[in-house]
Amino acid sequence: MLNKLLNIVHPWLIKTLGRDRLEYVASNTINELTQRLDPFIWTYDCKVKVIAIRQETADTKTFVLLPNQHFTAAIAGQHIELSSIGPDHSANRCYTLSEITAETVSITVKLNPEGEVSPWLHHQAEVGMIFNSSLARGKFVHRDQDKVLFICAGSGITPAFSMINDLLAQSNNAKKSSDSKIGLFYRTQTPENTIFSKRLTELESENRNVKVELSYSRLPVDIVTPSFIDQLMSAYPDIKQQHVYLCGPELFRNDVIQYLESVDFDLDNLDVEQFTLPVISSPQESGEISTLEGDVSVTLKSQNINFVIPASDCDKTLLEAAEEQGIVMEHGCRSGMCGSCKTNLVSGEVSGNKIGRSIYPCTAFPASNEIILE
């Protein structure tokens, strides 16, 4: 009863108050009682709530998520990491946002019967469920180029789909009779399991500057299909004038890159999302912390900033290394006395000045290749 009411109240609250005002009200009224009453609003964590589930194809579902007030605006092409999901609430997974509106974000998940999390999402997740989420992150985002071509395969369609929608919304808002061109080359198995197939056709017919080319890998044998590279070539002969965003399985990516190289494509005009890489790559086995090799990736959760400390800078303090990258972190004395920079370690390892998981970036050094700070 209460839950059903909250399912209506939450979208309304976020829509009318806005996240900023809701944060003001919630953070000033949080206590043990309110936390128990509604753990979605009165919480210190970024959470998302499932508000709708849509079947896209036989084995693909889109989950429309309502993030709470801790979420900040997402950019088309970015992803979020859901944590404490799966059958025993212990898995973490990254999902590209396939659709972004002012209040909601959507993820589109393909069922992998052998997987752990996607069957759980497909069969157990229901409207009203709440997950912990990261803020939106990732640099696979468009930069307003005039002529763009998205080349993707399988569930690699998700960032392309959100970017195409975003580009169209932008040009509609600006009402400019732009000569921008958006191309999409999308390789899937069959017409039946082409994600967003209906909406892609609609996009193409409604917008004159959009061209969608679908390519199928598993058509009945009696239909002769050219290789997809040939199809790409004939559909977009002017590929060298476009900015290409590439997203899909590794083999697919390699084929495309090989082709682009063969036509002397300027690789500066290519963005690639390494979509299928395992998300959680913790190179560290316990113990060998002192011998840190390679670059260190640092995430500042509250500021939603991610930066890389080059291997040569790993002897610098976290504060110095961040400043080297042009990142501003709260600090005071720079010598570990005043506690202004104190922050908590979410994952990874640091050495130097720390109390448990509380660390002092001004006098602490990276000790693992991936560090996430609060």
Binding site: Y44, E330, H331, G339, K342, R357
Partner: protein, 393 residues
């Protein structure tokens, strides 16, 4: 210790030794952080809640002037929330305990009309780093205060004692925001002949836009006003009790809270000498400058809680992010180190004496050229270097 006295390295070594001595105290208490601290802060919060219920309850139901009986309870609640909980939590003293996210500096929201983000910047990262440094420490001359002869004198300063005692201190907490968000800088720039000369201004890199500053100020103030002057009076009105009575009682508690905090914090720094600007560059020197710029006043453990342990200002400035209820214990170790190295450890016998002293300083420097001897920083005095020489002999 047996370095040749004349060489500069002898002094440098002594600084390092002093640094290590204080570092050891810090590590000792850091290692001891645990369940005890979590229990403590939770207990203070629970008591604050109990005081709030009693205070608001009495103010709500008792007729007319009898509602005053509830004011001290409400004051206790506001006071605990503002300093023993708020000030200390915002220093990050409880950040290392995962189980109490409500007491992490970045999650915590004050029940005081002060914006947390700008306060943390001003207080933790500037005041605590450059304590009593001329033109660097914003707390040294809050508003337009003049407590040393280096600050240019204006006509306004002749009246600084009554202005502060009767106009500023009753609303001290509200004034903090004006300082942290840069409003006071603009006032001085406009009305003082020499502008901000002699005062610490908000660092350009930390300055927020006017709109953002205004927004933060309004939000910080409105959350308090909404509760104290709208919701609870309205509640009284709706239940048939006197709304004006509740309004006035809450106002009284608000003013008491501000005044109490003003008298507590003003008594702990500005009577002491100005410090060299470069003290922060050497950890030993920094510890010495903190000792030299802070002064305690004595009180028992109960009183200390009501002062947010800011009467242990020396310990607080040496170790700003160790939970404050540890300071009475740490004081013993700190005093031992001070004795060993012949360092200043300043303490007023009572709160009253401390207040008398700081109001005296305000009075003295309300005149242009007061006839008082200048105070020299311990680091600049010969005492420290001389002792080196004595040791060597």
């Amino acid at each position: 210790m047996n370095q040749p006295a004349s060489s500069p390295s002898g002094v440098a070594d002594e600084y390092e030794e002093i640094h290590q001595a204080f570092e050891q105290i810090k590590q000792k208490y850091r290692a001891d952080l645990g369940e005890k601290d979590v229990r403590y802060i939770k207990k203070i919060r629970r008591n604050s809640r109990i005081f709030e219920v009693i205070g608001r309850g009495l103010i709500h139901v008792l007729p007319g002037p009898f509602a005053l009986i509830g004011v001290p309870f409400l004051f206790l609640h506001r006071n605990l929330e503002a300093i023993e909980i708020g000030h200390n939590v915002l220093h990050g003293q409880y950040d290392s305990f995962d189980e109490i996210p409500q007491f992490h500096a970045k999650n915590f929201r004050w029940k005081a009309p002060v914006d947390e983000v700008s306060w943390r910047q001003e207080h933790n990262a500037v005041h605590h780093v450059h304590t009593n440094v001329y033109e660097k420490d914003p707390d040294l001359n809050h508003g337009f205060l003049r407590v040393n002869d280096q600050v240019p004198h204006t006509k306004l300063h002749y009246f600084q004692v009554p202005i502060y005692l009767f106009l500023f201190y009753p609303f001290m907490l509200y004034n903090f925001n004006a300082q942290n968000l840069g409003v006071v800088d603009k006032f001085r720039k406009k009305y003082f002949p020499e502008g901000n000369k002699g005062y610490a201004v908000v660092d350009e890199s930390l300055r927020v836009s006017k709109a953002e500053g205004m927004k933060r100020h309004k939000r910080a103030v409105r959350r308090v006003w909404a509760k104290e002057y709208f919701v609870f009076p309205l509640l009284a009105l709706l239940t048939g009790f006197g709304a004006i009575k509740v309004f006035l009682a809450n106002l009284l508690a608000d003013v008491m809270n501000s005044y109490w905090i003003a008298l507590t914090i003003q008594a702990t720094h500005f009577t002491e000498p100005l410090q060299p600007e470069d003290a922060i560059k050497n950890k030993g020197k920094w510890y010495i400058s903190q000792l030299d710029s802070s002064v305690n006043f004595k009180g028992n453990r109960w009183q200390s809680i009501l002062w947010g342990h800011l009467n242990y200002q020396v310990e607080h400035h040496l170790f700003p992010d160790i939970p404050a209820h540890r300071y009475p214990d740490m004081a013993i170790d700190v005093q031992a180190v001070c004795k060993q190295y012949n360092l200043p450890y300043k303490s007023n016998p009572t709160w009253r004496a401390a207040i008398k002293k700081f109001v005296g300083a305000m009075w003295t420097y309300s005149f242009k050229n007061p006839d008082v001897p200048a105070k020299t920083a311990f680091l600049d005095s010969s005492a420290f270097v001389d002792k080196e020489a004595v040791n060597a002999k």
